[in-house]
């Protein structure tokens, strides 16, 4: 007896849809969870030590450092006329008034935009080249200086404001990303004028 002709050619090709419901369940849970965790703003943290008048662990650390090497005691004072840079040896003077005067005295410009952070940064790079081991700086602010001005000054004190290191600042003979760091150990101190 002859075989029946194959039925394969007549079989209808049905498109099989995958069952997406379990994956959908997963998505519905994962997306809200990740959305809750999403940071729409990125926060930056700036660490500082206590004001000089405070008593605590930070001061003890400083005392230890003091014993090792003579300290520069770099002090950046924020005054209403500009920045005054001073060290253990004296005040860095450029002409009359503060070391780095204000960019503008226009009262319509917000206080923190009146200061010349770029010039401060350049000046600090010069100091860092002379004292490559120095890590600390004291920032003193007059009572009416706003928080944003202090934060921006800290930014200018901590790091070189360009993206690429250009000079060997930490004195190890190589130019690498560590040469972007200026004075990361910042002490905030109440200004005494």
């Amino acid at each position: 007896m002859a075989f029946k002709p194959t039925a394969r050619s007549e079989r209808e090709i049905k498109s099989q849809e995958p069952n997406l419901i379990p994956i959908m369940n997963l998505m519905v849970i994962l997306i809200p969870m990740l959305l809750l965790n999403y940071h729409f703003i990125t926060l930056a943290m700036l660490n500082t030590s206590l004001p000089a008048s405070g008593e605590g662990a930070a001061e003890n650390q400083q005392k230890k450092k003091k014993e090792e090497k003579p300290r520069l005691n770099l002090t950046i004072s924020i005054t209403d006329k500009g920045f005054i840079i001073a060290g253990a040896g004296g005040v860095l003077v450029k002409g009359k008034g503060p070391t780095i005067p204000l960019k503008t005295t226009d009262p319509n410009v917000p206080q923190w935009k009146r200061y010349n952070y770029k010039a401060l940064n350049e000046e600090l790079i010069k100091i860092k080249k002379k004292y490559p081991y120095e890590q600390d700086a004291i920032i003193a602010a007059e009572p009416n200086i706003k928080y944003q001005t202090i934060i921006s000054t800290m930014d200018a004190t901590r790091k070189v404001m360009s993206d690429k290191p250009t000079e060997d600042l930490n004195g190890d003979g190589k130019i690498d990303s560590r040469d972007l760091i200026l004075f990361p150990g910042i002490n905030l101190s109440p200004g005494i004028f």
Binding site: E17, L20, I41, L46, P51, G56, A141, I150, L188
Partner: protein, 181 residues
């Protein structure tokens, strides 16, 4: 003459097919969102900042991160100082009322000191009891995070930092919005 019912095959006897949802395009969308959110997922220690405070924070280019959870968070607005979201001192446009200051020491904000001291003592008790946090024995580190209004005068900041120092909070972090971030 009335139209006779159609005699064509299939018409009028159309089969009721089950309606199906096309999920493919939705899945595409979800996959893209999922990948995007996974990429931005970070396990770093973060400080919670609500939207109204975020507008008031200063801007910074700093890339530093918090090493571990802060033991105290002090929020400073023009009207109040809050410790861990608890109202501690009422301010009048960043001015601390005289009654809140220590009469012998104009730098010490007494209610803030009391609150921070309580927090420290609680932390020390935890340490003594041998509490374990993230798999390590807990130690009081004195980490304090300041979330301050960008218009806060430095005189108030110094008072807050001095008071924190007196309560043995030595590592002080300032919160800022990352520029361009």
């Amino acid at each position: 003459m009335a139209k006779s019912p159609s005699k064509r095959p299939g018409v009028g006897r159309r089969k009721q097919e089950e309606a199906k949802l096309t999920l493919t395009s939705m899945m595409d969308m979800f996959t893209i969102i999922l990948v995007f959110l996974m990429k931005s997922y970070s396990t770093d220690v973060e400080v919670n900042v609500d939207a109204s405070m975020a507008q008031r924070l200063p801007v910074s280019i700093s890339e530093a991160k918090l090493e571990q959870d802060a033991e105290a968070v002090v929020q400073i607005t023009p009207d109040a100082i809050l410790v861990k979201n608890k109202h501690v001192v009422t301010l009048n446009n960043f001015k601390v009322p005289k009654t809140a200051l220590d009469p012998t020491n104009p730098f010490l904000i007494v209610p803030l000191y009391d609150e921070l001291n309580n927090l420290k003592e609680m932390a020390l008790k935890l340490e003594e009891a041998g509490a374990i946090v993230n798999g390590k024995p807990y130690r009081f580190q004195g980490i304090l995070v300041i979330k301050g209004d960008k218009n806060m005068p430095s005189s108030l900041l110094m008072k807050v930092m001095y008071t924190a120092g007196q309560a043995e909070f030595a590592k002080i972090y300032h919160t800022a919005i990352k520029e361009g971030g």
